[in-house]
């Protein structure tokens, strides 16, 4: 069983600073492995252990994002592929095209796993696009994946329903965070990850740079907070009574 996992080095939204003009300071912002990607790596490792094979981690990113790839290797992935991209020119379709091309080149793979969306921009576009470009059947929002014979049975977690689907190999899937509890690498694993192979490929060598992206971010600004930030003091009984008074005045308590 050969599994490709796609990960993203995402802006750490909890560390993202907003400047005095209300603009996020993205240049030099701290990055980390997109939170839910750990679930995708974990699931790939779990599926591999159920069969044996190889887990290869793919990432389109800059060289300073390598630590995310190393983290996936520390968790137990066998090797990594870093597609060096120009971050300013990256958009979702281009990213998906690069990942699909690298997966095709490094394949054949039985499965491609992603997370449902990245923790920074959470568009969730890349996984279905990669599947589309590879021509793989795609099961998004998987909360359970079971390998069976020549494929997998997957539970898709939708808003108010669960859909059980069956896909043959090779397939692609995105996972939701409830699918598993990602492991924490040990210190030894973290040290060993440095010795695991990472191939670096240039994006232009995979697919020549085409026309400029048609997508653009025109502006970004901090979400203004319109909350009142009233702190209610007093003993629990006093505070509770004051809170209910305030909520009544707001007209949000039903009778």
């Amino acid at each position: 069983m050969k599994i490709a996992v796609c990960v993203k080095h995402a802006v750490d939204e909890t560390e993202l600073k907003i400047d005095s003009e209300g603009k996020p300071q993205l240049s030099g912002a701290a990055g980390k492995m997109s939170a839910f990607d750990k679930n995708a790596v974990e699931e790939a490792l779990r599926l591999k252990s159920a069969s044996s094979g190889e887990v290869v981690v793919f990432m389109a990113g800059t060289s300073d994002s390598k630590k995310t790839l190393k983290e996936a290797l520390a968790m137990g992935a066998d090797r990594g592929v870093l597609i060096a991209v120009d971050p300013l020119a990256a958009d979702t379709l281009r990213t998906a095209e690069l990942l699909a091309a690298a997966i095709k080149k490094g394949g054949p793979f039985d499965a491609v796993l992603c997370s449902e969306g990245s923790s920074d921009t959470y568009s969730g576009q890349v996984p279905p696009m990669v599947a589309e470009l590879l021509g793989f059947p795609y099961a998004g929002y998987a909360r359970k994946i079971e390998l069976e014979g020549q494929g997998a049975t997957i539970e898709r977690s939708l808003e108010d329903s669960v859909e059980v689907v069956e896909v043959p190999f090779p397939f692609a899937a995105s996972v939701v965070s409830e699918i598993n509890e990602p492991r924490y690498p040990t210190l030894i694993q973290i040290m060993q990850a440095g010795k695991k192979p990472v191939d670096e490929v240039k994006e232009g060598d995979l697919i020549p740079r085409g026309q400029r992206s048609q997508l653009a971010v025109l502006s970004m600004s901090a979400q203004p907070s319109t909350r009142k930030h009233v702190i209610i003091e007093g003993s629990p009984d006093e505070a509770a009574a004051k809170l209910l008074d305030a909520l009544k005045k707001e007209g949000v308590l039903s009778n």
Binding site: T14, L93, P127, P128, G140, E166, R227, V252
Partner: protein, 309 residues
Amino acid sequence: LSSVVWAYSENEAVSDEVASAAAEVAKAISGEPVVLEVGAERGGTKAPGKKLVVKGPPQDSPPGVVSEALGRVAKEIRPAVVLIGATRNGREVASSLAAKLKVGCLSEVAKLASDGKTVTGERVVYAGKVVAKVSAGLPAVVTVKIGSYPRTTSPPVGSEVKDVGEVDSKLKVLKREKKEAGSVDLKSAKIIVSAGRGVRKKEDLGMIEDLAKAMHGALGCSRPLSSDLGWLPEEHHIGLTGVTVKPDLYLALGISGQLQHTAGMKDSKVVAAVNTDKDAPIFQASDYGIVGDLYQLVPAIRKALASQG
């Protein structure tokens, strides 16, 4: 490129919202809004203009089949903008359709506008911290944020049918089931009482649930309680990867207020929070805060409710 603006969602209520978005974009580019249905014709479809029934694949087809069917018609009609409701299935349909058509895709956008060359809109990124104004050159695929447009109420004026023939799918749907604990409808709840890591034991959730009932509200939770601890079904999970809610009142009990959580409740009308940590980020997202122990405050609020009637 035509000046047609498509609206599609597999969910009827969402379809009515996307139809309103399509009407707005179409007006801006002097185009025509068209509401799409895939598979069988729906009875109660609302549309600002015409509707287009894409026949071939059965109703309730998986996203991959829907995007293939839409792609076949799109290659012929060449719509300027394809608007799709940002449900989980809708997001998949949009992304794979964009990859098929090799066009840009914008995700979960509100406040759409167009000048005929690009489509622009606003979306929330970095777990709710930042609003980005984004743009895509036409033609483009856009998923429309749920709840960001009112529902269209008028019936369609005219309807057309396109038959795309059979669509093969390697993915087979074996069954669909309503999620357990479907008794809580967080999306339509006016009051939500939500529990976080401040709750020490699973059994203590009973006290929170009682309070929710007494307030005629629904019970929600932050991610650790559903995903990590498994104390509540995933359907109660409010946050970036869970349900997005906007009740009149959101009462957060023992929730620290990480961005992943507040992304799911920040549009609530009034937010109140109880937390022992005065520096918990939830207080930045609240109108009313009580720095205290929920184990004292929950009974006190119950008591105050009873005495105030």
